[in-house]
């Protein structure tokens, strides 16, 4: 049955996230834990439901097990709906052949039939690897007001960093006149956030054409957007200001977690009118023991803390034994940090065991801060030393 929807969202979650190395070895990037109780995808999913978008398709193909189990029926995001809700969309076998998703545009192309079930006027394209709060309904209104074919959300970035982004050059009305992917000499600093609103009929036409082009890499940034611009379609930039962070690298993931400890940027998880929803573990409140010391940190439920924690992000069900010192670090769920361990400038994956008196990472030096990473499930022996910037991978099996 087709029920008319004004706008549905397609949340691209298929990428491997290889720049997160061991952290995405067994799970898709959107499922990477973030901020003491969330996973990266919670922010986009919560933005959808808070913006009153009730149909969200999630094309996925890389290591989807954890992501599937996490999203399941969408209940934590209020996306278990009679009509619509959240759908995991893996590539599937078709009568004319079988393909993986070849690129971001192809992932949408292969799901045209999914989208058409809802007969939408607009389709919102999102990526599952950004941390931000955004009211998409305002962007959709803007798109409608402008009578646009495509609207791209943009954010001002420091001009010296602009050459890392896709830069939009616009006229006074916000109409995009040209687009440059990672320009060496950027003309301005308005970077694409990878958030697009398309009028569906128009996008459908371009997806079909793009698929027919054997030279295309089937990517929104590389193919669809430049093609639409070249054809003179009405494309507008929607300016966004507020916190927005790409967490595609170890350093940016660490920084975004640390941003939650900073009063200016922590609002993203503390806004009562824009809650970030997550699948909640079943565990009692956190216990802070007699010998514990916690400063300037966020800690989640089910923890048993008996050591010192300074300026860190501690996930749920973490055990920190006595005489442990943790500073400027991220400790993911179910980790056990044994007596006397020291962890500085590190990301410690879920279900890890850090042995007694082990030393993970170290203080920043003149050369800068180097983040040590312990992959999920790894066991670090007593007295073992993991150097600053070192990455430990000791798991063969995905952690369930």
């Amino acid at each position: 049955m087709i029920r008319k929807n004004r706008c549905i969202a397609m949340l691209l979650a298929g990428g491997q996230g290889s720049r997160l190395h061991v952290l995405t070895k067994n799970i898709a990037k959107p499922a990477v834990p973030f901020g003491a109780k969330y996973r990266i995808i919670d922010f986009t999913l919560s933005n959808c439901i808070n913006s009153n978008i009730n149909v969200v398709g999630v094309p996925t193909q890389y290591q989807p097990l954890v992501l599937n189990r996490y999203i399941r029926n969408g209940l934590p995001w209020d996306l278990d709906r009679l009509y619509g809700g959240v759908y995991i969309l893996p590539p599937y076998q078709q009568s004319n052949g079988t393909d993986w998703y070849k690129g971001t545009a192809n992932a949408i192309y292969q799901n045209i039939r999914f989208i058409e079930q809802y007969d939408p006027d607009y389709v919102l394209i999102l990526s599952g690897d950004h941390i931000y709060s955004m009211d998409y309904s305002k962007m959709i209104e803007y798109h409608e007001e402008k009578g646009a074919d495509a609207t791209i959300a943009v954010i001002k970035v420091p001009i010296e960093e602009a050459s890392r982004f896709g830069i939009m050059n616009t006229n006074e009305e916000g109409k995009i006149v040209s687009f440059e992917e990672k320009p060496k000499v950027p003309k301005n600093n308005e970077a694409s956030m990878g958030i697009y609103v398309f009028s569906w009929k128009k996008l459908r036409k371009y997806l079909v054409e793009d698929e027919a082009d054997p030279n295309s890499s089937n990517d929104f940034g590389k193919n669809i957007i430049p093609k639409m611009l070249a054809d003179g379609e009405k494309m507008y930039a929607f300016p966004f200001s507020g916190y927005w962070k790409d967490v595609g690298t170890i350093d940016s993931l660490w920084e975004a977690n640390m941003d939650l400890l900073n009063e200016e940027t922590s609002g993203i998880i503390n806004d009562p009118n824009w809650k970030i929803y997550a699948r909640n573990p079943v565990c009692p409140p956190q216990y802070i023991g007699d010998k514990a010391s916690i400063k300037d940190s966020i800690v989640s439920e089910g923890c048993d803390i008996n050591g010192e924690i300074d300026h860190s992000v501690v996930f749920y069900k973490v055990t920190v034994e006595e005489d442990v010192y943790i500073k400027d670090s991220i400790i993911m769920q179910d980790a056990v940090i044994k007596k006397g361990a020291r962890i500085i400038n590190a990301i410690v994956g879920d279900h890890t065991v850090i042995g007694e008196n082990a030393v993970i990472g170290g203080e920043a030096t003149e050369e800068g801060r180097k983040i040590s990473v312990i992959g999920g499930g790894a066991v670090i022996a007593d007295n073992e030393v993991v150097a600053p910037g070192e990455m430990i991978d000791r798991s063969d099996e995905p952690i369930i």
């Binding site: 934590p76 922590s266 909640n280 009692p284 409140p285 216990y287 802070i288 023991g289 300037d296 940190s297």
Partner: protein, 370 residues
């Protein structure tokens, strides 16, 4: 050997006037993020009981909103699941009941419809982690009509009525006594019973016919000779919340790691309603010792020997010691409170000083502003 569960959300003359003024005993907040009913409900679910009826009496709005569809206890089911029974008014008279037996009259048809062998009856004022499967097996092995669950201990609070069982060497209950407990160790009822379903239906029908009201006084006490009533001694941690001081003490017990680990067993977790709170935030110059703290709290002051619920704000320079602070309460900057139970959404303004005593905690009713 399947069972259905029946929970009495409010049955006792209790001594928690401030805390239960606007809610049933079952929805009294406990342990930082729970309500009392979560314990019995989770115990039933963890024991494989997937049909649970909750009998409500009055002030049950908070209970209904807490339970919702029962999905957080995995009780939102096509078959069975959670059913809340508000008072049921027949044309013959008022719908408010005055005893467990009286209360079950309204659910007689429900008990007749199911096919399970046993019914687990339980009050919701006991905090424990109990596996009913063992007790149901004991009940079946003894070929009992009724099994009462008790604990061998001395009643702490002498002002309140308790049910005491006299139990023979074979485990049979010879008699039951309801009243002020004598000053010695006794078999004290935990307010939980296993009953054969068909027998329970008969007992309820008889009760309707002759106007019996109380399950304990009219059935257990009077018919111990004619029915096969056995006792099961529960040896784990169990505490009945029947006064402000027991509510306070049971919260404090959770700071003991052995009790905490027994109540919050890994494989038999206690479920509760999810509130989507952010992680707890600790400021840079605070001292927090020996405390249980729930998510959504912001700790800008010092906390010691306390249980802090979800969404509590502890102001800068505040000192909170030996307290139970319930959800959403705000403790102002430089406030100093000790031995207090602060109910939901209370506001203690900056600099206020409040103190109770270990044996008589100061209790601040819901929404109070000091």
């Amino acid at each position: 050997m399947t069972a259905v569960g029946i929970i009495f959300s409010e049955i006792h003359d209790h001594n928690l006037p401030e805390i239960t003024k606007k809610r049933t005993l079952g929805s009294v907040p406990f342990g930082g993020r729970y309500r009392l009913i979560d314990f019995v409900l989770s115990n039933m679910v963890n024991s494989g009981i997937t049909s649970v009826g909750v009998i409500a009496r009055n002030n049950y709005h908070s209970l209904m909103s807490h339970l919702g569809s029962g999905k957080e206890w995995d009780l939102s089911r096509k078959f069975g699941g959670l059913t809340v029974f508000p008072p049921y008014s027949l044309s013959s008279g008022a719908g408010l009941y005055s005893g467990r037996l009286d209360a079950m009259k309204s659910i007689l048809s429900t008990l007749e419809k199911v096919s399970d062998d046993y019914v687990v009856l339980a009050d919701c004022d006991t905090v424990c982690n109990m596996d009913y499967t063992d007790i149901i097996k004991y009940h079946a092995d003894k070929d009992a009509d009724i099994t009462v669950i008790y604990q061998r201990k001395q009643v702490a609070d002498k002002r309140l009525n308790s049910t005491i069982y006299e139990i023979g060497e074979d485990g049979r209950v010879n008699s039951a006594f309801v009243g002020i407990a004598p000053d010695r160790e006794d078999n004290v009822s935990l307010g939980m019973w296993i009953v054969n379903r068909n027998l329970l239906i008969t007992l309820i029908r008889e009760a309707i016919a002759v106007g019996r009201l109380s399950f304990e006084k009219d059935i257990i006490a009077k018919r111990a000779g004619s029915l096969k009533i056995y006792g099961y001694n529960f040896e784990g941690y169990a505490v009945k919340i029947d006064s402000n001081s027991s509510l306070f003490q049971a919260n404090m017990d959770l700071l003991d790691s052995s009790i905490r680990n027994e109540i919050f067993k890994k494989n038999n977790p206690i479920y509760t309603r999810v509130r989507d709170e952010a992680p707890t935030r600790y400021a840079s110059d605070v001292t927090v010792k020996n405390s249980l703290i729930a998510n959504g709290s912001v700790v800008l002051g010092d906390v010691e020997n306390s249980v802090i619920s979800r969404g509590v704000h502890i102001g800068k320079g505040a000192k909170v010691k030996n307290c139970v602070i319930m959800q959403g309460a705000v403790i102002g900057d430089n406030a100093n409170i000790s031995y207090a139970i602060i109910d939901k959404h209370c506001v203690i303004k900056d600099g206020r000083v409040l103190s109770g005593h270990e044996t008589y905690p100061f209790v601040l009713a819901k929404d109070t502003i000091v």
